[in-house]
Amino acid sequence: MKVSYNWLKKFVDFDLSPEALCSMLTSIGVETSVVSGGGAWTDVITAKVLTKEKHPNADKLSLCTLTDGINNYSVVCGAKNVEAGQIVPLAKIGAVLPGGFQIKKSKIRNVESEGMICSEQELGLKESSEGILVLDENTEIGVPLERVLESDSVLNVEITTNRGDCLSHLGVAREIGAKLKKTPLLPAVKTLDVAELSIVKVESDLCPRYIGAVISGVKVGPSPKWMSDALEKCGVRSINNIVDITNYVMLELGHPLHAFDMSKLSSKKVIVRTASENEPMTALDGKTYKLDAEMLVIADEAKPVAIAGVMGGEYSGIDENTETIFLESAIFKPSSVRKTSKKLNLSSDSSYRFERGAAWDIAELASWRAANLIYDIAGGRIETREDIKTAEYEKTNIALRVPRVSKLLGYTVEENRIAEILRFLGIDLKSGGKEIIICSIPSWRNDIKEEVDLIEEIARIYGYDNIPNPHGQALRISTKSNSFFPEIVSDFRSKLSGLGFCEALNYSFSEIKDLEFFGLKYFHKIANPISKENEVLRPSLLPSLYRNLMLNASQGADRVALFEYGKIYAENGERKTFAAIMYGNVWQEWWKWAEKKINPKYDFYFGGGIIRNILPDGFTITENLSPKSYFHPGKTAAAVYRGKPAGQFGILKPSLNGDLKDDIFYFEIDIESLESVYGGEVSLYGHYSKFPSVKRDISVTADKSLQFAKIEKAVKNVMKTGNILKEYSLFSVYDDESKLGAGKISYSFRLTYRNNDRTLTDEEVNSDMNALLEKLDGELSVKLRT
C-alpha cells in the first residue's frame, strides 16, 4: 500500500525524514520503504523560459534561454513540451539530483548548456513522467524549487496478514504515535440528527453492522485537485468527486465505503442478503459472475447491486447524472468476504481490507467523514441515515500478568513502561489486582486476542534489538543425536562422489505419460496440479534421473554418473530411496592411456562392480527374482541385506535407450526398510601375515549354464578349510566355443597363498590347490584347462 508522507503528518506530528520514518516503522514490524520523494536535490531553482529555438545541430533538441530574474541561462532541452513563457525547474551547474546525478557544464552537439530543465521523474517526484515539469504561471522565479513545490514522499507499506488495521494513513499514523508516544488526531466530523426512514433491511448475520445514508442533490463532477493528487500518490485513479471521496476515506481511515446511484435501484429499498444459487451479477469490472447461496450481496428488490465487500455492480454506479446517492459503510464477516473473493477469483482494495477485518468504531466515523466531504465538495443534503446492527460489539478485555512479560522475553521491562506502551497503542488499562493489568483492546486491533499478543506488542514497541542476547546462553541440551542422512546414505554419497558421481536433486512430481514409458504405476495423484508436470507424486527416482541423463547427453556429455537420495511415494506411503544412474565412458580420454586403448563403459559388470563396492557388509548380490519392468530381464541383479531384498540394479531395456547407443545402468534401493536394521556394522579386524606370499594362476573350464557364484562359493569354502588361500581374483573370462567346446566358458584366477606364521613350501601350496581343483571337479564338473 502506498502512503503519502505529508498526509501522515496531518494525523501525527513527527520530525523524521522519510528514510528515518521508514526505518523506524520497519523496526516495529511495519515494513516501509521510500518509493519517491521530493526535495532530494540541491541547487534547483524556478526559472522562466524567455526564448525557445531549434538546436542548430539536432532536430529533436531545442535551445532555450531562461532567466531567474537576475541571470540568463542558455540551456539545451530535449523535452517536447517546453515553450517560451513557461516557469520551469532549472537545475543549475553544480546541482545534484536524486540518485546523485550531478549537473555539469557540458556541450550537447557542440552547443553549451548551462544547466538542465527537469521532469518530475528526474526530480524523484514521480516514478515516471513525460516531458518537463511546468509550474503554475504565477510561480515566483529565482527561488529554490522546494520552496514553491509542495514536497512530499510516497512510501510503500507492506503489512503482515494480521495487521489489516495498518492499511490506511490513520493506521500507519497510529503506529508512528505508538513508537513516538503521541496520540494521532482523528479528522473532525460533524454528525447530524436525521430521519431514519426504513430503507435498509439486513437479512444475514454475515453483516453485523450496516450504516446507510441517502444524500440528495449532489453535483457529480471532477474532484478538487488536492484530492485527486492525494489519490494519485497512493496509486488510485481519480473518477469523479463522489467515488473519489469513498476512496479517499478508505485511504485515510482504512474503512471501505461504497456509493450507489439511488435512481438506479429498482425500488427505494436496500437489502443485505445471501445470493440465491446461480444468481447472476455483473460487477464494475464488466464481468458477469454466478453467485451461490453462501455469498452475501447488497440488492434492491429485483436484483443484486453489489457483491458485499468485494465489488459494486456495473449498473448501480455513480455517473455524471447522479443526483441522489446511497452511501454504504458496513462491516462484513471477514471469512465470508474471503470465501466469496476466492470462489469468484475477484479481489479489490475493499475485499482486501474486509478479509483482514474492519473496525466497528471506524465504520461509523468513516460514514460521517464521507458524508461531510460530500456536502463540502459535491453539495447535497442528507435525507436519512440508518445504523443496523445484527450483533452487539463487545470490546476484548485481556488480563496481562506483568511477570509473564519478562518470563517470556527473558528481559525485564518496567511496569510503568509497559503501561505507557499499551496506552499509546490505544489500549485502555485498568488494574486487575497485584501485577495484573486489564487491557481493553480498541476495535481496530482484532489481532490482539490473548495475553501473548500483548507481550508481542510490548516487545516490538520496546524494540526487539533492545532485548539483549547474552552470548552463549546455556540451554538444556538434548542428548540423542541424529542426521538428515541415514548412515548408509552418507556412505553411498561420499563413496560415489569420490568415484566421480554428482548428486542430483529432482522435484517430487511425475507426469503420468512419463511413468507409462517406464511401465511404472503411480499411487498418489495431485487433485489441483498447476501443470501436467505436477500430476502425480513420483513412484520411483528413475524417470527424473533418466531425464537428467538425457539432458546431459543432449549437451554432449559422453559420461553421466548421477545419484539421488529422496522420497518416492509408493503404495505403502513415503519411502526414503536412493538411486544411481550411469551411462557412457567410465573415464575421459587421456593421452597417457591412449595407446593402451583403455576405454571401459558403464556396462552391467562395471556398474555392478561399483554397486558391490559401495554396499556395506551384510549385503549379497543375488539373482533378481522380481525385476522391475524397466530392467533388461537378462541383465539385472538384486542387492539383498540379510536375506531381505532391498535394491535392484541392472541395464535398462533397450527400448528405453532413445538415441543413446550404450547401456544405461540403473540402481535403486529402499532405504526406509534398511534404516532401522542397518547400524553401520563393524567387522572384526583380520590378521595378516608378515611372511611372503605365493601366487598361482589357474584357468578352469565350466558349463556356461553354471552360475559363477557357485564356483566362487567353492573357492571360499577352500579358503575357510585350508586357511592358506587368502585372496583370489578373476582376471580373465574367455568363451571361444571353437577352442573350448560347445557350451563351455573359461575362467582364469590368480590365487594368493600365505601362512601367518612362516614361509610356505611349494608342497603345501600344491596340495591346497589340488584340493580346490578336486572340489571344483567333483561338485561342479569344473576342470583345469589344459
Binding site: R163, D465, L475, E503, N506, L562
Partner: protein, 339 residues
C-alpha cells in the same frame, strides 16, 4: 710437523679438483701399498718412543682428514650428476595434467542442509523428520492457522486426490509431530522438502527445502531465541556479522520476528547481494504460540519455546551467488560439478 700439515693441505687441494676417477687414484696415492700415509706409518719403527707417538698421531689425523674429504667429494660429485640429470628431465607442468575420472559433486542444497544441521547439532539440537504428505490438522490447524485465515493465501497448497491429504507447505508441522511424541525439553531441527502450488520462476519453485527449528522447555525466552540464532549466524556465515530482529507475523509464533543479518559479502556496506541495503533477510522466528502448545497438550503456563524456519535454497543461492532457483533441479553436470 709442518710436513704433515702440508701433506693434508696438498691432498685437500687435489681432492677438490678431482673427478670420480681421479679420486680413486688419490686413494692409492695416499693409502695404497706405497702411499704417502702408508709410508709414514711404516717408518714409525725408526723413531724413538716419544717421537713415534707424536708422528703416529699426526699420521692418523692426516688419514682421517683425507679419507673424509674424499668421501665428501664423492657424495658431492654424485649429487652433481643427479642434479644434472634431473635438470634435463624437466616435465611440462603447465597444462597437461589431466585426471581421467570425472569430478564428482555433492548437491549444494543438500550440502547446505548438512552444514546447517551440523551447526545446530553443536548447539545441542537433534535432527528430526516429518512426513511430506500431511493432513490439514498438522499443516494448518495445529499451527493456529484456521481455514478462513488470510495467512493461507500465501501458501498455495497441493492437495492429493480425495482432498483429505495435502503436501506440506512448510516444515512447521514437524514441530507438532515432535511434540506429540516427546515431552519437553525439546530441541530439534527438521529439514525437509516443502511444496507450494505456484508457477516456477527464477525465485519460486513448486518444490523446495526448509529447515525448521524448535526448542521447548521451562523458562525459554525471547532472549534465548536471539542468542541461539546469533550463534548460528556466527558459526555458519561469519563471526563478526551483525544481526537484527524486526517484528513480523506468523500464526504459530507470538511474538514473531524476521531476522536479518549483515550482508556477509560486503559486511554491510551495500552490494549486489544485499541489494544495497547492507542487510539480508535470513529467517523467520518467534516464540511458540500458546495455541500451538495447547494443540499438543503442552501447558503454555509451564512451558514456553521458540521456533524458527529458513529456506535452504535461498540461503544456498546467497552463499554461492546463484540467481535462478531452477538451476538446482535441472541437474546439468556443468552446474553440479561446481560443488
Amino acid at each position: 710437523m709442518n710436513n704433515i700439515d702440508q701433506i693434508i693441505s696438498e691432498a685437500l687441494q687435489k681432492i677438490n679438483n678431482s673427478d670420480p676417477g681421479a679420486l680413486e687414484l688419490l686413494k692409492t696415492e695416499y693409502f695404497g701399498k706405497n702411499g704417502v700415509i702408508t709410508q709414514i706409518l711404516k717408518s714409525l719403527s725408526q723413531y724413538p718412543a716419544d717421537e713415534k707417538k707424536k708422528i703416529g698421531a699426526d699420521a692418523n689425523r692426516a688419514k682421517n682428514a683425507i679419507e673424509t674429504a674424499i668421501e665428501q667429494k664423492k657424495e658431492l660429485l654424485k649429487k652433481a650428476v643427479l642434479d644434472e640429470k634431473m635438470a634435463k628431465e624437466k616435465e611440462d607442468f603447465s597444462q597437461i595434467f589431466y585426471f581421467p575420472f570425472s569430478k564428482g559433486g555433492i548437491h549444494p542444497v543438500l550440502k547446505t542442509i548438512e552444514d546447517i544441521s551440523s551447526v545446530f547439532k553443536s548447539l545441542g539440537f537433534v535432527v528430526a523428520e516429518g512426513p511430506e504428505i500431511e493432513t490439514d490438522w498438522y499443516n494448518f490447524e495445529a499451527l493456529n492457522i484456521p481455514s478462513d485465515h488470510p495467512a493461507r493465501d500465501t501458501q498455495d497448497t497441493f492437495y492429493l486426490e480425495g482432498m483429505k491429504n495435502l503436501l506440506r507447505t512448510h516444515t512447521s508441522p514437524g514441530q507438532i509431530h515432535v511434540m506429540e511424541k516427546q515431552k519437553p525439553p525439546v530441541r530439534v531441527i527438521v529439514p525437509g522438502r516443502v511444496y507450494r502450488n505456484e508457477a516456477s520462476d527464477a525465485s519460486h519453485s513448486s518444490t523446495f527445502h526448509q529447515i525448521e527449528g524448535l526448542a521447548v522447555d521451562e523458562n525459554i525466552t525471547f532472549a534465548d531465541l536471539k542468542s541461539v540464532l546469533a550463534e548460528f549466524i556466527h558459526k555458519f556465515f561469519g563471526p563478526d556479522l551483525d544481526i537484527r530482529f524486526r517484528p513480523s507475523h506468523f500464526q504459530f509464533t507470538e511474538p514473531s520476528a524476521e531476522m536479518d543479518m549483515q550482508c556477509f559479502f560486503c559486511k554491510g556496506k551495500g552490494c549486489r547481494v544485499c541489494k544495497n541495503s547492507g542487510w539480508i533477510e535470513t529467517l523467520g522466528c518467534g516464540m511458540v504460540h500458546p495455541n500451538v502448545l495447547k494443540a499438543v497438550k503442552c501447558d503454555p503456563e509451564k512451558y514456553s519455546g521458540f521456533a524458527f524456519g529458513m529456506g535452504v535454497e535461498r540461503i544456498t543461492m546467497l552463499k554461492y551467488g546463484i540467481d535462478d532457483i531452477r538451476l538446482f533441479y535441472e541437474n546439468d553436470l556443468r552446474f553440479l560439478k561446481q560443488f
